[in-house]
């Protein structure tokens, strides 16, 4: 047996086992994460875990656009900023509840995402990436210069922790942690359901071949806009979450480095996979925290990761293709079996 076939076999076994016991595995993981704060109640540790969770959300958002639809955005920090600023301003100045405020942030980001999506109907590839980069910078400049709204370069300080039914969610009482956990679960579920549908297939078709997708009757303009809007809204919520975690935002919180960091997570984990976002975020957020040395060189490290991944594993660490059969629903499977029974 040659090496490839053997590896394929191992891969098959691995995927088969994880798929068969997926419900148990998910349950175990969930339980582990639910009890985690009680085992490691260190504040610093929990803050990092929450930060990883936030970046998982951001990566999931960008992944819809870049991983599935193939539109590379270099300005997603802009959407994070919109979400963070909108919710912080509403909470700090207008006394909004955090959840209502972040919903407004998501809607604002969605509308702006739609506007940013418009060029994608005419411009593609690198040019589109540059437009998104310009967008990110324009958002940053707006945050710097529109002082009346954003308090300029001073930023917004003392962003209160979110409350629910009079109960304040912070790191100490684990409230923030559980909010992050629920958010990550909901966003993952949302992405999963979206991807495994007609919409997800259309997005992937656009990624592979726009013309062929058009010829299959896919309204590529509509789906590109959908991808932009969904992606923007997810990242905006991630931004709101980030702002309450750190408690302070200013225009430089959302610079180009953040956009590249989110992109690095998506690429490292595996574009167009959900599992990859977790691995990517854990590696890129947790590692620099481990040592001072890595902290100093973290952006150099992100750069090296991008270069090496493109060279040696462009599909990402977990970017493998499923080797299991295509999952058909139970009723279809029964009918196919019957059909095959009839043929035989």
């Amino acid at each position: 047996m040659n090496k490839d076939a053997k590896e394929g076999n191992l891969m098959y076994k691995f995927q088969k086992i994880t798929y068969t016991y997926r419900i148990y595995l998910l349950l175990i993981t969930l339980i582990l994460f639910v009890i985690l704060p009680f085992v490691f109640s260190n504040q610093y540790f929990l803050t990092i875990i929450i930060k990883i969770g936030v970046y998982v959300c951001l990566a999931m958002g960008l992944n819809i656009l870049t991983g599935y639809t193939g539109l590379v955005s270099l300005g997603h920090a802009g959407f994070v900023a919109i979400g963070a600023y909108a919710s912080s301003i509403l909470v700090v100045r207008h006394g909004f509840n955090f959840f209502a405020a972040s919903l407004v942030g998501m809607i604002v980001a969605g509308v702006i995402g739609m506007i940013l999506g418009l060029p994608s109907l005419r411009v593609s590839g690198t040019y589109l990436s540059i437009i998104t980069l310009g967008f990110g910078e324009i958002i940053k400049m707006t945050a710097m210069n529109f002082t009346a709204l954003t308090n300029g370069t001073l930023g917004i300080k003392n962003i209160p922790k979110p409350g629910i039914f009079g109960f304040t969610l912070n790191v100490t009482n684990y409230g923030l942690y559980y909010m992050m956990l629920i958010t990550v679960i909901l966003i993952s579920l949302f992405c999963y359901l979206l991807v495994k549908s007609k919409t997800g297939r259309a997005l992937q078709a656009i990624k592979t071949d726009e013309l062929a997708a058009t010829m299959m009757g896919i309204n590529i303009n509509y789906y590109k806009i959908i991808a932009f809007v969904v992606s923007a809204m997810i990242c905006a919520f991630g931004g709101s979450l980030y702002s309450v975690l750190i408690g302070y935002i200013d225009p430089n919180t959302f610079n180009f480095d953040v956009s590249t960091l989110i992109l690095s997570i998506v690429i490292l984990g595996g574009m167009g996979t959900l599992r990859g976002m977790f691995v990517g975020a854990i590696i890129l957020i947790a590692f620099p925290e481990v040592s001072r040395f890595l902290m100093e060189y973290r952006f150099v490290l992100y750069g090296i990761i991008l270069v090496l991944m493109m060279r040696f594993r462009p599909q990402g660490i977990l970017g493998y293709k499923s080797v299991l059969p295509y999952a058909l629903s139970k009723s279809v499977k029964e009918r196919v079996d019957k059909l095959e029974g009839n043929v035989l």
Partner: protein, 258 residues
């Protein structure tokens, strides 16, 4: 039996930067026929397809499909009207599975909205199940079902061609445009392809194809159109085209001494 005219192209002209790529090409196609367009390289055959499917707009002329003018409509409307195509260089969704390729073809027939997908309601299940079943039936009908779970890029060449055609059929289009389906195939494969195209016809589809392989063209076409340098030079039954002097001249260049 009088057959119904399905597609009527009349005097279409198209130029690119002053160069006339198509100069008054006309074509008529009845339901249930297999019609071929032949001509030397660069004659403008693929341009006809591109205009027909809305990739290019035409400068002059008209295209009537099932009694409706469809010239210069956007590709998506053309697919909805019932015309679907393959490409000269295969353009599959390589990273997706065979069945997913077919399901993408069935995009227009899968009728549920964004929120149905998120909430997985009854409508979603009903539509997805119906289309998945139809896709499997289609794959079985064309003999590709044993490849259902494979990734498109892993299929052998001949089967990729078949899959591309299956994807067209899944759109629900009744007129299938095939752009050089036999290109790169050996004689055995093209003989199989011929049978396959005949089979598609029996399934109720009409075929318009561009092809260089004369054994395929002469054997299965009901009618042949010949174009050269964007101009129509002949049309008729295969046996008429085989002895047409203009056609021989266009292909061999010199003066025909037939």
């Amino acid at each position: 039996m009088k057959k119904e005219v399905m597609l009527k192209i009349e005097g279409i002209k198209k130029s690119f930067g002053g160069i006339l790529a198509l100069d008054g090409v006309s074509l008529e196609l009845n339901e249930g026929e297999i019609v071929s367009i032949i001509g030397p390289n660069g004659a403008g055959k693929t341009t006809v397809f591109n205009i027909l499917t809305g990739v290019y707009t035409l400068d002059e002329g008209s295209i009537i499909f099932k009694g409706e003018e469809i010239q210069n409509k956007a590709p998506i409307h053309i697919v909805k009207a019932g015309i679907s195509r393959t490409f000269q260089n295969i353009r599959l969704f390589n990273d997706l599975r065979v069945i997913e390729n077919v399901l993408i073809g069935a995009h227009l027939n899968t009728k549920y909205g964004f929120f149905s997908a998120i909430f997985r309601n009854g409508k979603f299940k009903e539509e997805e199940d119906r289309e998945a079943l139809r896709a499997i039936e289609l794959l079985k009908a064309i003999g590709l079902d044993h490849r259902r779970d494979e990734y498109a890029s892993n299929l052998p060449y001949g089967e990729q061609r078949k899959l591309e055609i299956a994807r067209c059929l899944a759109t629900g289009a009744k007129l299938i445009l095939l752009d050089e389906p036999a290109a790169g195939m050996n004689p055995k494969e093209s003989a199989e392809l011929m049978e396959f195209i005949k089979k598609i016809r029996t399934m109720g589809y009409t075929v318009l194809m561009i092809e260089h392989d004369m054994s395929v063209v002469m054997n299965i076409s009901d009618k042949i159109y010949v174009i050269d340098h964007g101009k129509p030079i002949a049309n008729g039954l295969p046996e008429e085209i085989a002895v047409n002097e203009d056609v021989i001249k266009a292909y061999l260049g010199g003066v025909a001494n037939a």
